[in-house]
């Protein structure tokens, strides 16, 4: 894929007093993919996303989109959904969407038409004339997504778009995000719902304490890290075929460790990929092999491996609630 539409975060740094919010964060978001942005609370996700849309100044570093810095014109082609929802409580749904669409450059007619389309599309058709404050939190969330989409943006930056949604809402939002990515939109969204991210995203970036700790496609990350295989020999519910095996020639390969046995299936970690064949040979000697394959890591495992057990925010940032957005910030303009 060409670099067109690609979003680049280059060495982003930002401190709030003694707190380091971004510590040289760099990664690239390709166009046309649903890209997940993960990290524990206080990792710097919101600060990075605010920097992308230009409402957060940086100490250093650059954000580039389409191989160029993001200027005022470019910002009008960005759809942004902030972590803390930003809507006028007393405005009606369609009016709010039309207003935001017009601010992004749509004509009155197109803005109204787009506002109606996205209200309908996100299941708000019957509520389009209601005030935002009269809607449930879930429906306000839908309006917020509609607000990010109403001007047909080419870049979507969505901070926790799924929080507070019911399963139907999650499905509707997932469908829309997948569709927009397929339409060529560059998309970055943050979430703590790792199973959902694994299901939805092509690629992810995981950050911790303001720095990148893992980055790549979900597939690569799932198969990366410690190699593991799962083996099950027919009729051996306790995996007794492993008893008495110890590292050495004709035995377990060096570095191979039995991590666990469940229902006759043994999970064995390996030092080298080719050791899997040796394990298979040992299992076949014990009987017919019913199950054999590399174990795919869940994204939650990848996440925990990347950020470690100490996945909380830095000590200075634990004191105030909502530490990620609490420190003093200011507009870049």
């Amino acid at each position: 894929m060409s670099d067109d539409g690609q979003l680049e975060l280059i060495e982003l740094k930002r401190r709030f007093g003694d707190t380091v919010a971004l510590d040289g964060l760099s990664f690239t978001v390709p166009r046309g993919e649903v890209f997940g942005f993960l990290g524990p609370n206080g990792a710097g996700k919101t600060t990075a996303m605010r920097a992308i849309v230009g409402v957060q100044a940086l100490d250093s570093g650059a954000v580039r989109w389409n191989c160029a810095p993001i200027d005022q014109d470019a910002r009008r082609r960005i759809g942004y959904m902030p972590e803390e929802r930003g809507l006028y409580p007393s405005m009606r749904v369609v009016e709010q969407l039309e207003y935001l669409a017009r601010l992004h450059g749509l004509t009155q007619q197109r803005a109204l038409s787009a506002a109606r389309y996205w209200s309908d599309r996100l299941g708000l058709a019957g509520r389009s004339q209601q005030k935002i404050e009269a809607l449930s939190l879930g429906n306000q969330q839908r309006v917020q997504l509609a607000a990010a989409l109403v001007h047909e943006p080419e870049l979507l930056v969505l901070d926790e778009p799924f929080s507070g949604l019911d399963p139907v809402g999650v499905d509707a939002m997932s469908e829309v995000l997948t569709e927009r990515a397929a339409a060529g939109v560059t998309m970055l969204f943050s979430s703590h719902q790792l199973d959902l991210v694994e299901h939805l995203c092509t690629s992810v970036a995981i950050i911790h304490r303001g720095a990148l700790v893992a980055h790549g496609t979900v597939e690569d990350l799932a198969h990366g890290g410690q190699l593991r295989i799962a083996v099950r020999v027919a009729g051996d519910d306790k995996a007794r075929w492993l008893s008495g095996l110890s590292p050495g020639p004709g035995e377990l390969p060096a570095g191979a460790t039995v991590e666990g046995i469940a229902g006759g299936t043994a999970t064995i970690s390996l030092a080298r990929r080719e050791d899997a064949q040796t394990i298979l040979d040992l299992a076949r000697k014990a009987g017919p092999v019913e199950q054999f394959g590399f174990v795919r890591r869940r994204l939650s495992e990848v996440f925990r491996d990347a950020v470690g057990r100490d996945s909380g925010p830095p000590p200075e940032r634990q004191a105030p609630a909502r530490a990620e957005s609490e420190p003093a910030t200011e507009a870049t303009r």
Binding site: G54, V55, R75, Y80, G86, L87, P89, P327, E330, A331
Partner: protein
């Protein structure tokens, strides 16, 4: 600034107007203000006298000289008069009884009134004196009589000190001061609440992805300003229409300068204060803090408003109040009062307006800086010094 810059700013202003026009509180406040203005137009007229325009009947000849005598009597007694020729004394008596006439001059013989006044200064008494003098001068040689007819009987009066304003004019000035005070405070606090709402609900974060802070600020104060102008226009229209309808001499003549001064100072005052109120709103993180944040801006206006009552009925204006009329924070309320009291010549009004305009530019820059730096800052409520110390 490009056309697009103004297009976006106008969109913000339009939203403010629509939002405000939908609020019930806006319409309730508008009606109350209109009632206050109506009272300001009608009460001075009533205080000036029920018959502020006196109808004088004349019976007999020469009609021209008699009409001149009636008008002179009006001038001397401070009453506007209209003169009506009547066919007979009986007709004059009938109209007097019906209350349609205030007095009737019957040839060079007598003046008829419905009820004798003992004050000695009524239109009837004055008409009698002028009529008597005219009769006396009628016995002069023709040349001298012609000169009297040409120049009138009464001698001109020149005062050594400026005339003091009457009660009705003072009340008009007080009404203007109240309205300016109410308009600036009402719209100012509304701006603070609006900015605070945008910040507290984080909608500003969405808006500032496509707008510059100065556009959001400008759109808000322009929108609110236009609403204020509409309200002012409605009030002025009601004031003038009602004033003319009840025959208020203040509305017809003297009060025009007060109305103009009030209009000028509402615009100048709003211009000076509006950005400051927006900056105050940008410092808060909860809407509930809006009134506290705006309080420092309200104190100078409240102080001046209270002091208005100490000068509005006095014969002299104290120097402190006079100084307030040249300080931009207090001038919008103080200067129209000085105009109403006749205590501020035109050059002082112009000087004060100039100071306010220059200060408005200074205030807009300062407020714009505070707003731009504070509007996206979350956490606890900010202090002005804290914001100004922060480098962009």
């Amino acid at each position: 600034m490009s056309a697009n810059w103004w297009t976006l700013t106008w969109l913000v202003a339009r939203r403010e107007i629509t939002d405000r026009a939908r609020a019930k509180s806006f319409w309730i406040a508008s009606i109350l203000l209109l009632v206050a203005v109506a009272a300001g137009a009608v009460i001075p007229a009533l205080l000036a006298g029920k018959h502020s325009v006196a109808r004088i009947g004349i019976v007999g000849r020469p009609a021209v000289a008699m009409a001149q005598a009636a008008r002179e009597a009006g001038q001397i007694s401070g009453t506007a008069v209209t003169v009506t020729e009547l066919p007979s004394v009986a007709a004059a008596r009938a109209e007097l009884r019906a209350g349609k006439l205030q007095a009737a001059l019957i040839g060079d013989t007598e003046v008829l009134v419905n009820k004798q006044s003992f004050s000695g200064s009524s239109i009837g008494t004055t008409l009698a004196q002028i009529g008597g003098l005219q009769k006396l001068y009628g016995q002069l040689p023709p040349a001298a009589a012609a000169a009297v007819a040409a120049h009138g009987i009464a001698l001109p009066v020149y005062s050594l000190s400026p005339p003091t304003k009457n009660l009705a004019t003072r009340i008009t000035g007080l009404t203007a001061a109240i309205l300016i005070y109410v308009i600036i405070l009402t719209y100012g606090i509304r701006i603070t609440i609006g900015v605070g709402e945008e910040k507290a609900t984080r909608v500003v974060e969405v808006l500032l992805t496509t707008l510059r802070p100065v556009q959001l600020l400008a759109g808000k104060v322009i929108g609110m300003g236009l609403m204020a102008l509409c309200q002012i226009a409605a009030m002025v229209a009601v004031y003038l229409a009602l004033g003319h309808a009840v025959g208020s001499p203040e509305v017809r003549s003297a009060a025009t300068s007060i109305v103009l001064a009030a209009g000028l100072w509402i615009v100048l005052g709003y211009g000076f204060y509006c950005t400051a109120y927006a900056a105050a709103g940008s410092l808060i993180t909860r809407q509930a803090d809006a009134y506290n944040a705006a309080l420092p801006l309200q104190i100078p206006l409240i102080l001046t408003y209270v002091l208005v009552y100490t000068v509005i009925y006095s014969t002299t204006v104290n120097p402190f109040f006079h100084v307030l009329a040249f300080i931009p924070f207090t001038a919008p309320v103080a200067m129209p009062v000085l105009v109403a009291l006749g205590a501020a010549p035109a050059w002082q009004v112009a000087l004060s307006a100039g100071i306010t305009v220059v200060s408005t530019v200074w205030m807009a820059r300062l407020a714009g800086t505070i707003y731009g730096r504070a509007i996206l800052r979350t956490g606890s409520r900010l202090k002005v010094r804290q914001v100004l110390r922060t480098a962009v």
